[in-house]
């Protein structure tokens, strides 16, 4: 490893961790690594969640109440009585106790099983009294909304480490989750197909279809145009049947067939495809708009579709939109390449917590409004109205509060209004280790069910590059569907559209409504689409795109607005909608990076922050679509004159979890994936956590080196004893004595003291002045005290419950002892474990009952059977524990902590682990930490490839091996695997093995020569077996053996190894 010279200070990066400078590679180009910590400082690791939630609280919620349908509640009985929402705002979390509001802190919610929620207040204008007068009321509470930790409204927002520690929060905790009824819940990021975009696809029946899912605040609908039997139809929920497309066009006022053809494009091939549809329409005798509408009337109700806005019944924009849809569809029919890829990340939108909560809130808000309306009407119909009418009292806050709480705590999003019924939207934050919790926040859940046996969505998409982690996905059924965000990915939130639209027009976009159908697809212009909306066309698309980009880089428009010129579709796509994934890249002019050494120096000196880079147009965010217009160089040195962008750091294509693996690029790729799933090992609270000797840059960025969850072990890779087969490891007892692998497990026990319970002092028993043996740990208040050692069946709470009925209890009389039954809370533990009461917490729950919570601590040292894992997906159980004196030792007296079986390496191909072992040893020997970041060191040891080359046997054998099926599961294709085979061998069920692996799988009749022991063949003309080695058929016997076995022999022969069979009579 190159160690920078001491005097070469300019290359060294001063940083809080001094070791950063050690491994700073000597790069000729500008070292942009420092941008990363800076980026994460402003962004945090869960910014996507926070941003989305903040957006909801600040903007979205206001939009909801100001939406046309929501703003007013008007009584049906007396329309003069109304209520109007003027404003809505979310306060910071607080709790009301005895009519006093006091601020709420998250730790308290966790301890007392309450919800971390803030009041939502509205300003309302309403009518009251008789005669009716208008009043304005401010700060009326309509709900208690769960608040995301570290969001704008959270009390923790903007606090420094000391303040956080004072509130009992871990400064490294990223936030981004909710606390509902004491449990921490993350709202998983949901992956969806884009809304408001034309998607060309083939459906189940193989028909080409163009579909648009429109979604606005007012309504959501799906429009599909589909080709069936050469005719084109439109499918819409409002209609019962498919409607011929031409009828629709006529209904919208486009009576001339010629105009329709023009709108699709003049290409004769298009008109050819349209012809059958036109004929059909004519055969239905529909020629005018009126006739078309009449036809539609029969097919049921109103016709409103696609997201193109209609102004005063002007359907022209809609016609154009349909025209564009048709054109794209016909193009797809002619040329299958233009069918959209549903798995393309650019066609995906990620729904974050803000959007999800907003949906739910909107639904609940409407429910609340209609409930209020109903109760108002009811009150009005009552003849005798004694008191004056106060509408505001009819707004019940429980609707929203309970609705939100229930949805988040169960994870069931059941929003009938938006036809949404999804389960498992929230998950409990996994706190097994710090990194597991972090990984949880970046996880993306797919929309469709996991059982679908399709490979398409599971495959790694090239467009995921840099946006979604290529390694981090679970094994098994959700493989490839559940994804994780990469380190620098940002998910956008909605942005105001109208200024952008105005801007587009002023940049020369010709308004669509002024264009004739003929002009629409003229050769020299591109269509301009904004968030799926056709704005018009532009004659100089490249110039227009450059102009927009310049404005974005100058900060005049939002940094997340994307501009994408699609040459194929002759469109310029502009997007400012939420849920797109994007990432920052360094801008290069003709291949020259805009970031120069002096910029980085200013950054290091603290004179510059990440946002300055953005503001000055050195860095910009690109989304997946716009990346298609960019040529991105991985390193500065590789840039040429066509390069438009340069990556900040190559390893940012990985996610948070994958960043922990040292040298991942040396491993067989599934191993990295396995490792990420492996975060579940017995790491609860390690007694002696250590910093890994071989860190990666991501580790530092995440703060994992401050919150370690592992230990550095001295490892011997050797075979030792028989207790290390199948990845088992042998551990050194002395190392365990000294604290290796020791961990503390915390368990929570809680109990409620009901109103009819009492907790009493332990009774002194007569003998020896002592207590009952199970009561020894009780304090004088009848509750076990902290620090006491608990044995199984020990009493934690000396509780008694009344056996008498409720009425007697209420009479406040002191009941006699006989009225109580002994109902203690006992400790359930296994014999032989030393457990200790760590903490005792008392609080009252929402029913005003006392709740007692115990934290029970148990220190565990590794035992035989415990599972351990390295950072390369190489797990293993502890096979045996051996005394130190029986362990191997080096001539310097070093004794390993554990022994690993070398057989774990060849098949796993985890070269990265070997390098980690070497790097770790080098680190110990010279006494410092080393980097093992992905793509960290220069690659290309071409001369070494020769040495580590391995052989791979041709694939048929693999194929055939995989066909041993379990009897019952034959139809399900369950495999009698290697492990199962081992079990059968160990059990001695030889006939079963014979049956499974031979008779039921692939029996083969082989001719074997008794003389030379080689396989022969059946000679058809001689009608006998023949040995080609001995050139005779005399000594050839026929025997049965698995085909795989025969294949193995032949493959061995091909490698100049001669397997000879010796046959004996049986």
């Amino acid at each position: 490893m190159a160690v920078p010279d001491e005097d070469d200070t300019s290359k060294r990066i001063p940083s809080p961790v001094s070791m950063k400078s050690l491994a700073a590679p000597v790069k000729s180009a500008v070292d942009k690594y420092q941008l990363l910590p800076e980026f994460l400082k402003v962004r945090g690791l869960v910014k996507q969640h926070l941003d989305s939630f903040n957006y909801f609280i600040n903007c979205e919620i206001k939009k909801i109440i100001h939406a046309k349908d929501n703003e007013r509640i008007v009584s049906d009985i007396n329309p003069k009585i109304y209520l109007k929402f003027l404003d809505i705002y979310v306060e910071s979390p607080s709790v009301e106790e005895d009519h006093i509001r006091e601020p709420l802190i998250p730790q308290r919610c966790r301890l007392s099983d309450t919800t971390y929620a803030a009041p939502v207040k509205v300003d309302i204008e309403y009518t009251r009294g008789n005669p009716i007068q208008t009043e304005i009321k401010k700060g009326h509470v309509i709900a208690n909304m769960p608040i995301m930790l570290r969001s704008r409204r959270c009390v923790l927002y903007g606090m420094d480490d000391d303040e956080l520690a004072r509130l009992g929060e871990c400064p490294l905790d990223p936030g981004g989750y909710f606390i509902v009824k004491g449990t921490e819940k993350v709202l998983m990021i949901q992956e969806q197909l884009s809304k408001n975009r034309i998607i060309i696809d083939t459906d189940k029946k193989g028909r080409v279809s163009a579909s648009v899912t429109s979604s606005t605040h007012e309504r959501k609908s799906k429009t599909v145009i589909v080709m069936e039997k050469e005719r084109i139809y439109l499918q819409l929920n409002q209609f019962t049947k498919l409607i011929p497309i031409m009828v629709i066009m006529k209904a919208m006022g486009m009576e001339s067939d010629q105009e329709v053809v023009q709108m699709v494009g003049r290409d004769p091939r298009y008109s050819g495809l349209l012809l059958p549809s036109i004929q059909e329409c004519a055969s239905e005798r529909i020629y005018t708009q009126y006739q078309a509408l009449e036809f539609l009337e029969k097919k049921v109700v109103k016709s409103r579709f696609t997201n193109q806005k209609v102004h005063q019944g002007d359907f022209y924009p809609k016609c154009i939109y349909v025209g564009v849809m048709l054109r794209r569809m016909l193009e797809a029919i002619l040329n299958a390449d233009t069918i959209d890829d549903k798995d393309y990340v650019g066609n995906k939108r990620l729904e974050l917590s803000g959007q999800l909560i907003s949906l739910l809130f909107e639904d609940l808000f409407k429910t609340m409004s209609s409930a209020a309306k109903k109760s108002i009407d009811e009150a009005l119909t009552k003849a005798s109205r004694s008191s004056s009418m106060d509408i505001s009292l009819h707004l019940k806050k429980d609707w929203i509060t309970h609705g939100l709480e229930r949805a988040i705590s169960t994870g069931n999003w059941d929003v009938k209004r938006f036809k949404m019924n999804r389960k498992g939207m929230t998950q409990v934050v996994s706190r097994l280790s710090f990194i597991a919790a972090l990984g949880h926040m970046t996880r993306i859940q797919p929309q469709f069910e996991k059982s679908r046996k399709v490979s398409g969505p599971r495959a790694l998409q090239p467009s995921q590059w840099g946006m979604l982690c290529p390694c981090d996905t679970p094994e098994g059924e959700a493989c490839g569907l559940v994804k994780n965000l990469a380190l620098m990915t940002h998910v956008t939130t909605d942005e105001e559209e109208s200024p952008l639209i105005t801007l587009c027009y002023s940049l020369g976009v010709e308004d669509m409504s002024l264009l004739s159908a003929e002009e629409l697809h003229s050769v020299n212009s591109y269509l301009v689409m904004f968030n799926g909306l056709i704005l018009g066309k532009h004659r100089l698309p490249q110039r227009f795109a450059n102009g927009m980009r310049k404005l974005r880089r100058a900060g005049k428009i939002g940094e997340f607005v994307s501009v994408f010129v699609n040459e194929k579709q002759r469109c310029v796509y502009l997007a400012s909608d939420g849920g797109r994934v994007c990432r920052p890249l360094v801008i290069a002019d003709k291949g020259v990076s805009r970031i120069k050494e002096h910029h980085m120096k200013e950054l290091r000196d603290g004179a510059r922050v990440f946002d300055d880079f953005l503001r000055e147009g050195l860095i910009e965010y690109l989304d997946v679509n716009e990346e298609n217009n960019a040529l991105i160089a991985l390193y500065e040195g590789e840039a040429d004159s066509k390069t438009t962008h340069i990556e900040i750091e190559p390893f940012t294509i990985l996610g948070v979890c994958a960043g922990l693996i040292p040298y991942p690029h040396h491993n067989q790729s599934p191993r990295n994936t396995y490792q990420l799933c492996r975060m579940d090992t017995l790491l609860y609270l390690l007694v002696y956590p250590q910093r890994p000797l071989l860190t990666t840059k991501s580790i530092e960025l995440v703060g994992y080196d401050k919150l370690g969850a592992g230990q550095n072990a001295t490892v011997a890779v050797m075979s030792y004893s028989g207790y290390d087969i199948e990845d088992a490891i042998v551990m050194n007892k002395s190392s365990l004595d000294r604290g290796f692998g020791r961990c503390i497990v915390m368990k929570k026990v809680s109990a409620v003291k009901q109103a009819y319970d009492r907790i009493i002092m332990p009774k002194m028993s007569s003998g020896k002045g002592g207590l009952d043996s199970h009561m020894q740990i009780l304090d004088t208040d009848g509750i076990a005290s902290p620090g006491e050692i608990v044995r199984p069946l020990d009493i934690l709470i000396n509780k008694q419950s009344a056996t008498v009925s409720r009425d007697q209890l209420i009479s406040h009389k002191v009941l006699p002892d006989s009225a109580y039954k002994f109902t203690p809370v006992k400790h359930k533990g296994t014999e032989g474990e030393t457990t200790v009461v760590d903490r005792v917490a008392l609080f009252t729950d929402k029913d005003q009952n006392m709740v007692i919570k115990f934290m029970i601590r148990h220190t565990r040292r590794p035992e035989v059977g415990d599972k351990f894992s390295s950072r390369h997906g190489q797990k293993g159980v502890c096979g045996t524990i051996v005394q130190q004196e029986d362990f191997p030792f080096s001539e310097r007296g070093i004794c390993p902590d554990l022994i690993m079986n070398p057989h774990g390496f060849p098949s796993r191909m985890t070269i990265g682990k070997m390098i980690e072992l070497l790097g770790g040893k080098a680190g110990v020997s010279c006494g410092r930490f080393h980097y093992g970041s992905a793509f960290g060191e220069p690659s290309g040891h071409a001369d070494r490839v020769e040495v580590i080359r391995y052989h791979r046997v041709s694939s048929p054998s693999v194929y055939i091996h995989g066909t041993y099926l379990l009897p019952k599961a034959k139809t399900y294709g369950l495999r009698l695997g290697e492990m199962e085979r081992d079990c059968l061998i160990a059990y001695g069920a030889s006939m079963l093995i014979f049956e499974r692996l031979m008779i039921s799988s692939d029996p083969f009749k082989a001719q074997v020569c008794r003389k030379c022991g080689l396989l022969g063949y059946y000679h058809h003309s001689l009608k006998t077996g023949f040995c080609s080695m001995c050139k005779s058929g005399e000594n050839v016997s026929t025997m049965k053996l698995p085909y795989a076995c025969k294949l193995l022999f032949q493959e061995l022969q091909a490698m100049n190894i001669v397997p000879r069979l010796q046959l004996t009579e049986h």
Partner: protein, 329 residues
Amino acid sequence: MEGISYQRFPKVKIREMKDDYLKFELRETDASMANALRRVMLAEVPTLAIDLVEIEVNSTVLNDEFIAHRLGLIPLTSDRAMSMRFSRDCDACDGDGQCEFCSVEFTLNVRCTSDHTLDVTSTDLRSSDPTICCPVDVAARATAALDPNSAYDPSEQRGIIIVKLRRGQELRLRAIARKGIGKDHAKWSPAATVTFMYEPDIHINEDLMETLTLEEKRSWVESSPTKVFDIDPNTQQVVVVDPEAYTYDDEVIKKAEAMGKPGLVDINAKEDSFIFTVESTGAIKASQLVINAIEILRQKLDAVRLSLDTEECDEQFGELGAHLRGSAV
């Protein structure tokens, strides 16, 4: 076979001796003896270590078991350990380990009152009888104070940290140290490192070596990761400077083969000569550790010695019987 004695008389030569470090040669015996000695030193030489902790007050960040575990691992001076009793076979007490024959009591009472972080170290452990048993660093300080010539610098020694306290935190406990052996728990092991290596026997094939150029010789010499060989500046011959630096890594042999000169050097391990390195934790002196180990090994052998009245079984045991009774007859 009769009359031939296979008895051997091992020889020990001490090379280097410090309080906590000993390097010696063991010759004229075989690997079983050397290994037995190593094993006994690691696992069976008794020392004292804290075994029972009664915590009165613990408001530190570490929990009780954690502190108890850390206390256990502090090495204590155990010069008297050989003559002490295991608390399980102590007659003088009922096994709670509070008598002078089998245990030593410690107390620790620290409270942090300042704003600075206070380190609780082994120096805060108060022994009931410091002459018998105290933490090794405390003992080292005491001896250094008596000896003005020692190189010991007390300011450099901060003691072994047990836990760190912040303002208002307190740790008060009573601990009992007992005698034990490393086999039961590593805290009783007096040895930090015990290792031996076979003495290498290196023969350079001078004739073949002479066929090499100086450049080749140099690259061959440098192929060894440790400095075993060197080139004589005068004669330009390859000489063995430090045979014991050889780690049996075979690098030089592989290098010779790669150079096309197999057999350039012949390295064998001497089967009957061992170089021992013993490092002590400080609980007992390294030299004492070896002596104690030999003593324990003898005691173990004594345990299998047959009593003199088993001569009638000679039919069964034959020569072995006589041997096990001792060859004094």
